[in-house]
């Protein structure tokens, strides 16, 4: 009698000929997430099984698995030799001792003569005999005891089905570059895109000495938190002060944010291309702040050719906060350190910038020199969760 964990995959079955590729990617991601925990992972017809692990690691394995994209649900199960009496005994032992239940049997081993329905009835009978507080209800049940008898005469018995993170395995949907500010929105945006199988890279703009080491550490911690779901994130920390100085010197302060955002997009795109990313990701939500009006987005979007994914564009702030709480980035995001956007913040930023005016202003700046200068001094940090 061994404890095992059954992993069910999400949408992979939809993927036809690519199924193998998706499964391989997921298998790799699971192995990576379970790194450091001694266990054995094997794949078995539309599912994976984790076995041969120490009892004390059980909780940690489940917690890690639940964060991996592409996993639909996980079930702690007992693996035994498929002996019918033994199955009944174990089912009664591991299941709750009170409530309404039903038993479902899935039998791949055709050498066992008894029909699945009859096995289920026998197990149910046994459980009822064992506990007075149990009743059978095939439709409105509190829990379902599952018995899965495989061809190799092993049986898996479980009743819990813990929700997984859903989505697609990270890495099977290309790569994207997330603009990670340190606020509430961008980690949530990154999580949403990663959930669709995208491998994340991130870029953060650091305005030393206007922003602190602690602000930078906060962004690293945010990337590490998101990486629990997405897998490792390569974070590029770009020194941004020189660019802010140049804008401050040459351009009207009201345009500070618009011009800064255009630089951020340019740099993000160059870094993205150099890492093989096919898109940029931002946490923008329409109308949330001055730089996120439609007019501002038109102007900032204009400097890049890569598609920009904005998964939160239609979300309200409270919805984003709820998501941030769920993925455990919220408490980090609200730590009160300055980020580069609040440096040189004008009192009255332009809300509806016009592209032609902004382009005229930029003629006063040596854009190429500033962008390349910042990229040359970029620091790269691999953010890994476990």
């Amino acid at each position: 009698m061994d404890k095992v964990i059954i992993i069910r995959v999400g949408e992979l079955f939809l993927k036809g000929n690519n199924k193998r590729y998706f499964e391989d990617t997921l298998s790799r991601n699971i192995r990576k997430a379970l790194d450091g925990i001694k266990c054995y992972l094997r794949s078995a017809r539309n599912r994976f099984i984790v076995e041969n692990y120490a009892e004390r690691d059980h909780g940690a394995i489940i917690m890690r698995l639940q964060k991996i994209f592409g996993i639909h649900s996980v079930s702690p199960a007992i693996k035994i030799h498929a002996d019918l009496d033994e199955i009944s005994r174990v089912a009664a032992e591991i299941s709750p001792k009170a409530g309404k239940f039903r038993v479902s049997v899935n039998k791949a081993d055709k050498t066992i003569q008894k029909r699945s329905m009859d096995i289920a009835a026998d197990v149910g009978q046994f459980m009822l005999k064992n506990s007075k507080d149990l009743t059978v209800d095939l439709f409105k049940y509190d829990f379902e005891v599952n018995i899965d008898i495989r061809e190799d005469k092993t049986a898996f018995i479980f009743y819990e089905r813990l929700e997984g993170a859903g989505g697609l395995p990270s890495g099977c949907g290309g790569k994207a570059m997330l603009l990670l500010s340190g606020g509430i929105d961008s980690p949530v945006a990154g999580h949403k895109i990663a959930r669709r199988g995208v491998q994340l890279f991130a870029v953060h703009y650091h305005s030393f000495p206007y922003t602190s080491e602690k602000a930078k550490q906060k962004v690293i911690d945010l990337a590490k938190t998101v990486s629990k779901y997405s897998g490792d994130i390569e974070l590029s920390v770009v020194p941004f002060t020189e660019i802010q100085y140049a804008i401050r010197e040459k351009c009207p302060i009201e345009f500070m944010i618009t011009l800064m955002r255009r630089f951020m997009m340019r740099i993000a795109e160059r870094l993205a291309i150099s890492k093989g990313c096919g898109a940029l990701v931002t946490g923008e939500s329409l109308g949330q702040v001055a730089s996120q009006t439609m007019e501002s987005i038109i102007v900032t979007n204009d400097v890049v050719k890569l598609p920009v994914f904005r998964p939160l564009i239609g979300s309200d702030k409270y919805e984003i906060i709820e998501d941030a709480r769920n993925i455990e980035t919220y408490d980090l995001s609200i730590l009160p350190y300055e980020d580069c956007c609040t440096v040189f913040l004008p009192k009255n930023p332009v809300i509806k910038p016009r592209l032609s005016i902004v382009e005229d202003m930029e003629k006063l700046l040596d854009i190429e020199l500033l962008v390349e200068g910042a990229i040359a001094r970029t620091e790269t940090i691999i953010c890994s969760s476990y």
């Binding site: 030393f208 000495p209 206007y210 922003t211 602190s212 100085y245 010197e249 730590l335 009160p336 040189f344």
Partner: protein
């Protein structure tokens, strides 16, 4: 590396190493246990307590705690007070007093804040009418942690006692111990908080002086250690280190402080004359110097200087993420209000470091001011 943040913590004196080793590996026994070895440790503890009391010239008890913060909590929460009675604390208190006082206000005590000047020193004339017959507790810090301003505790105590001799007077002496004279008999305080790691000992140890006849009720309950006032197995290695540094430093305060004063004066004299950087610190502890920068944020300067290996603070490290408190900026011209930096010294700092600091300060200031709003 230049460490000008000694008010937040200090480097431990190397003599701590042998003491930690002794009390962790040889005499590691619980002083409450029954066998000979632990009795010996208990005797060491008693000796350390008496020695610190002697160095403080105190008549009463010295309760070891885990920190200055715990000592302040014990002082404010543990003193018996009639329900609804008045508690006076100065507006410049550290959060470890201020937040406890606010908590007491929530519990139904009448909290009154004593006005301070730009150095955090209590305004005596404004203080006097606050002290009433039904005042139970007064807490005024000895040396202000942000400006180095020294309160005339002796004067405040004697006035308070003249109104009602049963008033309990507590002073937070965390920035005073080992920096200025801390003579309990002379100050006349009932309770006095200190912290070991501000004085080149290790973290995790503080203490509360309790004058003879003053009652303090426990805040932490358990095995009844520390005369029943503070249960917990005593942190013997840290306590013994604390005693050792007190032994070393307290008798030589005059020598230390005159050296530090020269350093402080050197920095003050070397400040640019154009008003770009002004000093806030008043007649006070030589160990703390607060400066205000015109139109440059203190936090930005802090990071800029970090690049040159200079570490300092923008205020009290315990609340460094919050804007400057009202009292500190009230008397400052508008353009200096966000520009406060705090330097705090110890005997390891010297004139060449001060010279280097001034150079880098001027250099960074001239850069940063270009882009100031």
């Amino acid at each position: 590396m230049i460490f000008f943040d000694n008010a937040s913590t200090t480097k431990a004196d190397p003599l701590c190493l042998d003491i930690i080793k002794k009390y962790c590996f040889d005499s590691y026994y619980n002083p409450s246990a029954q066998y000979h070895n632990s009795v010996e440790v208990g005797n060491d503890l008693k000796r350390a307590r008496q020695n610190i009391l002697r160095l403080l010239n105190g008549d009463g008890q010295f309760v070891f705690t885990s920190s200055g913060t715990e000592s302040d909590n014990l002082a404010l929460l543990g003193t018996p007070k009639k329900k609804g009675s008045r508690i006076i604390v100065s507006k410049a208190e550290h959060p470890s007093v201020m937040k406890v006082a606010n908590e007491l206000a929530q519990r139904g005590f009448e909290l009154v804040l004593a006005d301070v000047d730009g150095c955090g020193m209590v305004d005596f004339e404004k203080f006097k009418p606050l002290v009433t017959e039904d005042t139970a507790l007064i807490s005024v810090m000895h040396v202000n942690n942000e400006t180095g301003g020294i309160n005339d505790i002796k004067k405040l105590v004697s006035y308070a006692k003249s109104v009602n001799k049963r008033i309990i007077f507590h002073s937070d002496g965390v920035q005073a111990l080992g920096k200025i004279k801390t003579d309990m008999a002379e100050l006349g305080v009932d309770l006095y908080s200190v912290s070991a790691h501000k004085l080149h000992s290790i973290k995790g140890c503080g203490g509360l002086y309790v004058k003879k006849g003053v009652s303090v009720q426990p805040v932490i309950f358990g095995g009844g250690q520390e005369m029943g006032v503070r249960s917990s197995t005593e942190n013997i290695p840290a306590i013994m280190c604390f005693e050792a540094v007190c032994n070393k430093i307290l008798p030589s305060i005059d020598k230390y402080s005159s050296e530090i004063n020269q350093l402080k004066q050197y920095i003050i004299d070397s400040l640019p004359q154009d008003g770009s950087v002004i000093k806030i610190s008043c007649q006070g502890s030589p160990f703390i110097l607060s400066l205000a920068l015109r139109s440059v944020r203190g936090e930005v300067m802090l990071h800029a200087l970090e690049k040159h290996g200079i570490m300092l603070a923008t205020g009290s490290a315990c609340s460094s993420s919050k804007p400057a408190k009202g009292w500190k900026t009230e008397y400052l011209p508008e353009e200096y209000k966000n520009g406060i930096i705090r330097l705090s010294f110890c005997h390891e700092n010297d004139i060449p470091q001060a010279e280097y600091f001034i150079n880098k300060l001027n250099l960074e200031y001239s850069e940063l001011i270009k882009y100031a709003k």
